[in-house]
């Protein structure tokens, strides 16, 4: 309760500072609109449905791309952590491609797929998969070898060892890999939506882009806020329960 109060106070103060800066009149309202006018834009966009439909389009792309990226990235990361030959080949490839900013996939995606949903999806998957591989791999490497040794003496080997020991032992790292993947998927999709103008649906990235084209700073800031809020909510809804569960089991992250 106290923590929620402190957080609310902090953000209220932030908005007040913003309002104060806008009220001084030193900057043109075209460049620095007041919080009130941004709120007005958001309210109108909410009422005429653009905000909702754009969010739905964006989230659909995000979830599909993210799910595919994680479904590929998690097992690949686990395997590269266990087998030297995969580490030297796929692991190195992942490391290289992970350093490539996801915007860099956009030209290639456009040439391959044209102005289509597939292009969008491709950029999101490429932005997600390598970071998930790297995070999962790094995590799975830090599993204490004593777990596998103990399991082997108790008659666990092969597939059973994967399912009963390696997988549960790497759970904390899988979750952090998924979390990192989420952040990367979100970034990639925004980059893709800003650069790829397709007719199959306007996402939040498009709204942001048109805000700039129309010199409408209310829209630009409003959409940025929405993007931040969706990111925060996703973190709280998708990952917090997992993290709480893991902390309870592993006894980690307990504040005194």
């Amino acid at each position: 309760m106290r923590r929620a109060f402190v957080a609310t106070l902090f953000f209220a103060a932030l908005i007040l500072v913003w309002q104060a800066a806008a009220a001084t009149g030193r900057w043109s309202p075209v460049l620095l609109p007041s919080p009130w006018s941004v709120a007005e834009y958001l309210w109108s966009a909410l009422r005429d449905g653009t905000l909702f439909s754009a969010s739905v389009v964006t989230l659909k792309r995000l979830l599909v791309g993210y799910a595919i990226g994680v479904a590929i990235g998690l097992p690949v990361g686990l395997f590269t952590s266990r087998y030297e030959i995969l580490e030297d080949t796929i692991g190195t490839l992942a490391l290289g491609l992970q350093t490539l900013p996801s915007v860099c996939w956009v030209p290639l995606a456009l040439l391959w797929f044209g102005q289509t949903e597939q292009a969008m999806l491709f950029v999101v998957i490429m932005g997600t998969v390598w970071s998930v591989v790297i995070a999962t791999d790094a995590g799975a490497r830090s599993i204490p070898p004593i777990y596998a040794r103990a399991a082997r003496t108790m008659g666990s080997s092969g597939l059973d060892q994967w399912v009963s020991v390696i997988l549960p032992a790497s759970l904390p790292f899988l979750v952090s890999g998924m979390k990192q993947g989420w952040a990367f998927a979100w970034r990639s999709l925004m980059a893709a939506e800003i650069y790829v103008t397709i007719l199959t649906g306007f996402g939040l990235g498009h709204l942001l882009h048109y805000g700039r084209e129309l010199n409408d700073m209310d829209q630009v800031i409003g959409i940025m806020l929405v993007i931040v809020i969706i990111g925060l909510l996703a973190d709280k809804i998708l990952f917090s329960p997992w993290e709480r569960f893991l902390h309870r089991r592993w006894g980690t992250g307990i504040r005194q």
């Binding site: 004593i146 108790m154 008659g155």
Partner: protein, 266 residues
């Protein structure tokens, strides 16, 4: 020199024959074990004692089948081992309990992989073993909620539950405080007297070895080899603080020091 005093007719439960092991890195090669021969009969409680680095834990790993020897072999009931097996369970220095399972789940881990039991029997055996180590009330607790002594009790229950014929213990008491340890020595002796499993325990604590074992085997380092064997005939249960035990310990410690100084001079 160790094996000949045992009854010759029976096939030993566990025998180590001419085992040597080197650890090679690109720069050096460490001779960890040299020509170790040792045989342990059914129901024997054997302790391997030696300074750290004498290869006693490596020897235990080889007996468990977790490490392959460079020379020689390990036989259980006269048959050479191929790798880890359910008939030889290991209790490690750290409890090595799984944090994703609760106490009951940890004890069930080995049982679930033991064929020929119904799930109901498995649960009953697990309950009985938790009772045996005095942790029945903690069956739903998670590993991080237990003290060091409780963790080792769970590890003991987990190792005993599938009823292995050989129990290999790698300094299981060394990370515990003295009070907890003394209590565990008493409890463990009771349990062992009840079941008479074949046990090989590695320790650097001479008193612990005398308190628990029938035979204390003294090792020296670089390369690790067996130097001497002492039979302990004190009545059980033994009190680690008794004067008889102390005088035994003095004898063995003196022997150990002798090898140590010779080893340093060489």
């Amino acid at each position: 020199m160790a094996a000949s005093s045992q009854s010759p007719a029976a096939v030993p439960k566990l025998s180590v024959e001419g085992v040597s092991k080197w650890f090679r890195t690109p720069r050096t090669s460490v001779h960890a074990l040299e020509n170790i021969t040792l045989s342990v009969n059914e129901g024997d409680f054997v302790c391997l004692v030696g300074p750290s680095g004498c290869g006693k834990s490596t020897l235990l790993d080889i007996a468990a089948g977790l490490t392959k020897p460079d020379e020689g072999s390990v036989l259980v009931d006269g048959a050479p081992i191929e790798g880890p097996g359910r008939n030889r369970l290991v209790m490690f220095q750290e409890a090595a309990l799984f944090p994703w399972l609760n106490v009951f789940g940890n004890v069930m881990f080995g049982l679930k992989r033991t064929p020929g039991l119904s799930n109901r029997e498995r649960r009953e055996i697990a309950e009985a073993h938790l009772d045996l180590v005095g942790l029945k009330a903690f069956r739903r607790a998670y590993v991080h909620e237990l003290s060091g002594g409780m963790k080792q009790r769970v590890a003991l229950a987990r190792a005993l539950a599938p009823d292995p014929r050989v129990l290999l213990m790698d300094e299981p008491f060394s990370s515990l405080d003295a009070i907890t340890r003394d209590q565990l020595y008493r409890d463990f002796q009771d349990i062992w007297q009840d079941r008479k499993q074949t046990i090989v325990l590695v320790t650097h604590n001479v008193r612990e070895a005398i308190c628990l074992a029938d035979r204390v085997i003294v090792m020296s380092s670089s390369p690790g080899r067996i130097r001497d064997e002492f039979l302990v005939s004190l009545p059980r249960p033994r009190d680690i603080n008794s004067p008889e035990l102390a005088s035994y310990a003095q004898k063995i410690s003196a022997a150990l020091k002798g090898y140590l100084s010779k080893g340093l001079a060489a």
